[in-house]
Structure formats: C-alpha cells, structure tokens
Amino acid sequence: MANLNMVEAINLALREEMARDETIIILGEDVGQLGGVFRVTDGLQAEFGPERVVDTPLAEAGIMGAALGLALGGFKPVPEIQFMGFLPPALDQLICHVSRYRNRTRGRHTMPMVVRLPYGAGIHAPEHHSESTEAILAHIPGLKVVIPSTPYDAKGLLISALRDPDPVIFLEPKRIYRAVREEVPSGEYVIALGQAKVIRTGETVTAVAWGSMVREVIRAADLVASQGISVEVIDLRTISPMDDETIVASIRKTGRGVIVHEACRTCGLAAEIIARINEKAFLSLAAPLERVTGFDTIVPLLKLEDHYLPDAFRISRAIQKVVYY
C-alpha cells in the first residue's frame, strides 16, 4: 500500500500486469526511454525491455493499426496516443477496424487492446493539448471508454481494462494526474468496467460527472450543502457502455439532475444521459436536467482557458437552479 498520484497508480497497474501477462506490449511516441511525456510509462522499458515497451515513429494511424495487427497475432497491445488532440489520425483505425473486428468476423478475431491517452483541459498547454472528445468515442459501437477520477480507481479500472477481451479506450484526465495522492494497494484488485459509482449519497439532486470534473462536483456539493441541498454525486467511470441504471435510480430518488462535462456541449455525453433519463425516469423529473459543460467553442489558449472549464461555482449555480426550479 502506497500513497500514489494517478500517474504512479497507472504506472503501477501497467507494471504489475506486464509482469503477470507476457503478451502486453506498450507502444507509442516517447513511451520508452523517456517514459512518456507525462512519465506514465516511466521505468517500464528498463524493466521489460525495448521489445515490450516500444518507441515508435511519429505516426498515430501507424501505432493504432500496428497495435491491431499485434492483437490479431496474440498480443495485448497498449498503444499510447500522446494527447487526445492527436487522436484524430488514429480514428480511422479505431472506427473502421478496432471497434469492428469482432463483429466483422462473427467473433473469429477479437480485439483485446487498451488505448491509453491523456485528455482534457486545465494544464495550460498549447492548442490541441486540451481536447475532450469522449462523446465521439461513445458513439462508436464496439469500443469501451473508461475514465478514472482517482488514483485508486485508475489502477483498478486499468487492470480490468487490460483483462477485458474487447478494446478499451482508457482516457486519463491529465489535469488531475498529480492533483491528489491516495492509498493505492500494490497487487491486484479490479474495478468492473461499466459500473458507475455513487461517491456521495444525497437526497435533493443528482450530479453526474467523470474525470477531472468529479472533483469540481464534490466541491460544488460542499458549497451548496450549507443551503441544505444534499447532492448525490455519481462518478460515471465508464462512459461506454454507460451504466444508466445507477443514474436513473438516483434520479428516481432525487427527481433532479445536473450533468457535468468539460467537453463541448452540443452532442456531448450529457445529452445522451439526459435522453436516457427522459426515457427511463420521465415521471420522476421535477425540473429540467441541467448541463454544465464546456462551450461549443474550441478550447481557448491558456490566457482564457480558465473561463472555459466548468468549475464548482458554475456547478453549484446549476444545482441551485434545478433545486429552486
């Protein structure tokens, strides 16, 4: 048991699973000698050798497509895309092949693979380093999309992802890579994919978030607690397949909901959550569901970036709005 931040927790999960499963191969830009630009793969090449932790040429489609071939050849590739902003060149392989191979071949070929990538804004990086386009991935059948919000969950979810028979996109909220430390057990434990977690129970209103927004929601819940508003906070953890049951059960209880994400609003994941609540808990709703999201704009460069991201203040206002509707 050690006190780890999320980078260290992910590194530990990779290290332990690589020791356990010889078919795991990490490949990507700067993942080897450098240990990744965020040091997530630090020390892994030294431990497992350059055949299992591979620095590739600068080519995201190449990384994804070669990973697919490695998976067909019996390996469990763990490609890293350096930033979500550089995922687009790899989308072709993800959309056309990684997500489809099992179905295309009626199960003859499966695609066990974990695609890791840091995502999200809030680190004051240049353009294309702040993207959160998880809704695009959630729209693609055949992919799973997982987003941890704590070091503990990051390790447990990643171990599950690495043992999953299907392709998992593992989005790492880089803004909170080093934001908190918590006890993370060494050795194996898993957190099942596809299960949201109620991280705080409440009665007045349900708030749903994932990644770095979970922290903001907790802060918002603290802010409104003094007003007697009791917020049930749900960390979605797996974006796809989505655990709408947990959300719907909570809404049935509270009758009110706020969904928070940093991605653009239009066609973001909050819309899907609202659609499902509409379908399954319509009669429970006492107020419109509120979205607190990034704007329908390109994430600004750093001087204005802080205006972009939802924060505890905005979330608390939305909570008040649905409560006092």
Binding site: G62, G65, L70, G73, G107, R108, H109, D244
Partner: protein, 366 residues
Amino acid sequence: MNLADFDPLSGKRCEILDHQGVIVAQELRPPGLTDELVLELYDRMVMLRVADQQALTLQRAGRMGTYAPTLGQEAANIGSAAVLQPGDWLVPSFRETGAMLLRGVPIKLIYMYWMGSEWGSHYPSEVKVLPICAPVSTQTLHGVGLAWAGKLKQDHTMTLIYFGDGATSKGDFHEAMNFAGVFTIPCVFFCQNNQYSISVPRRVQTAAASLAQKAVAYGFPGIMVDGNDLLAVYTVTAAAAARARAGEGPTLIEAQTYRLGPHTTADDPSRYRPLEELKAQEPYDPLRRLRIYLTQQGLITEDSEQDRVVKYEGMAKDAAREAEAAISLNPDDIFDYHYAQMPPYVAFQKEYLHRILAARGESAGG
C-alpha cells in the same frame, strides 16, 4: 534470383515467361518451381477465373451484392500466395479472391461475404487469412502488426500484404511501410498494380516512375515484376518471403498487371477507359501464356482444359447454392458480436427488434 539485380530505379522488371508463352529467363526460375507446380497453379488460376465469372453471373441474377472481380489478375493472385508456408499470414485487400482461395478460404465463404453476410468472414480457425478489407490500404498496417507479432514470438513466419496501386497514395500505406522498415518486420508488401483505382489511372496516383521505387523511402528493397507472369510473380515473391523469413525485413513488390473487368459490378469502365486500351491488353492475359506453355510441355490439352472448366463451374455453382443456404437471416446476429458481453441497452435494442418483427408478423428467426 537476387532481388537487388532488379533495382526499380534502373527500370528493370522481372520477367520469366513472356506473353507468348516463351521462357525468357530460365536462370531466374527457382528449382522448386517445377512444371508440375506451374500446372497446379495454373489449375488454381482457372478455378479463380471460373469462380470469378460465376460471381458476376450471380450478381447479375440478383443473387449477390456488389462484387470486385479479379479478372486479369490471376497470376498476381496465385503466383504470390503460392509461396506461403503453413504458418504464414495472408492479408488481403478486396481483389484477392484467388490468393484467399489458395490459402484455404472456402469459395462458399467468399460468396457469402459478397452476398452480404458477415459469416462470410468467419473463416475456419486454421486459415491464416484476414477478412476482406474495404477501406483502401488500412489493412497494410494490420499486416505489419501481425508480422511483428510473429517476429516477437520468433515463430519464423512471414505475412504477405496485398493492396492496389491506388492504395500507395494513402498515408497509412506510408506508415505501414515505415514501421516495417524501422522494426525489420517479416512481411512482403505486394502491390497489385492493375493500372486503375476505379476510374483513376495509375499515372494520376503518383509522379514516381514506378511504385516499386517507393521502397527507397523506407530503406528496403522494391522490385517490379510482370504481374501477369505467374512464374515471375512466384519467383519474386518467394525471394522476398525468404528475405522476410531470414530476418532481413520487408520487401515491396509491384506486380504490374491489368484489370480486365470493371472495378466492381457497380462500375461502368466504358465511361473512362477506351475500348482500344482494353483490347490491347488481351494478348497479355495471364492464363493465355500459360496455356501455350503448358500445351507445349504436353501438360494440358484442349480436352483437359474443357474438363477443368466444367469441373470448376460445377464447383462454383455448388458453392453458390451452399452459400445461399448457409446465410443466416437471424436478426440476432446484428447484435451478438460487438462485445464479449452485450451491454444492457444493446440487449434492449435486440429485444425491441424482436417485438417489432413479431408485431409485423415476421419471424425473428428470419
């Protein structure tokens, strides 16, 4: 043969049996490529042509969807795939019906695929062939990864990757070639340059004098071969495969052939290809020259030829019927193969479809 003797920048290309059926470079012919083997492969080429023709017939009769014929590319298909050994992988594009057949994909499954059933890509587990790949050139990367896996497992296999001339323009072709060079991947890049990408002629694809010379960009050999010459295709591919197996890395082969048919059954080449051009290609037909040669060797006769065609026509027709009978119309298939474990809402959608079909009075079982 020595691949290095055919530097594409010098304009040389490998030819062994010319289009008049004359052996012009016996010295290049590997000892294993006996007349018996040539006959066997010729037999497969005939089978391919017949199976291909049958597909067109089926398509016209409305019994098959869009189909991409292989007409004219039989030598490129069969001569290349023939060099594979049991553990090797074959990665097709979509115009490798012959190569796939040769490697054990049942013709029935190939028909099922083009008839519009995913079960047509559920090959027997021992068949080391990837499914047909529609997005041009994307499969080149799959082949590289698969060959890489073989290298890591040290299983001494290699992977034969097919694609067209048009595919060489795509970025993923570049990334595949580059990865293969960097990681010394045991694979062979086999380009069926049939001179067209749908309507776009080869010269519009690239200003390079040859496609083979593109290998220079990746630090490994490229070679041009007469793609309608079974013997040359076999010889060159065997040499490249040997290189791969010896751990020397990839090779790019440009097999210069010609698409005698339409791009697919949905295409009308008369809109872009002069009839004279097509006519001028007829003497170069890959079967014609073999027929001359094998007749001269006394290995085939007009009668035996007739029998062969009849045999394969029967086979193709049987396969078509079997394919039709085997196609599942079970709507559950739409849902059942996306994940090892079906998410609840997909299960719900599946139930929904059942309800809809029941309401309509259609049986869910098809």
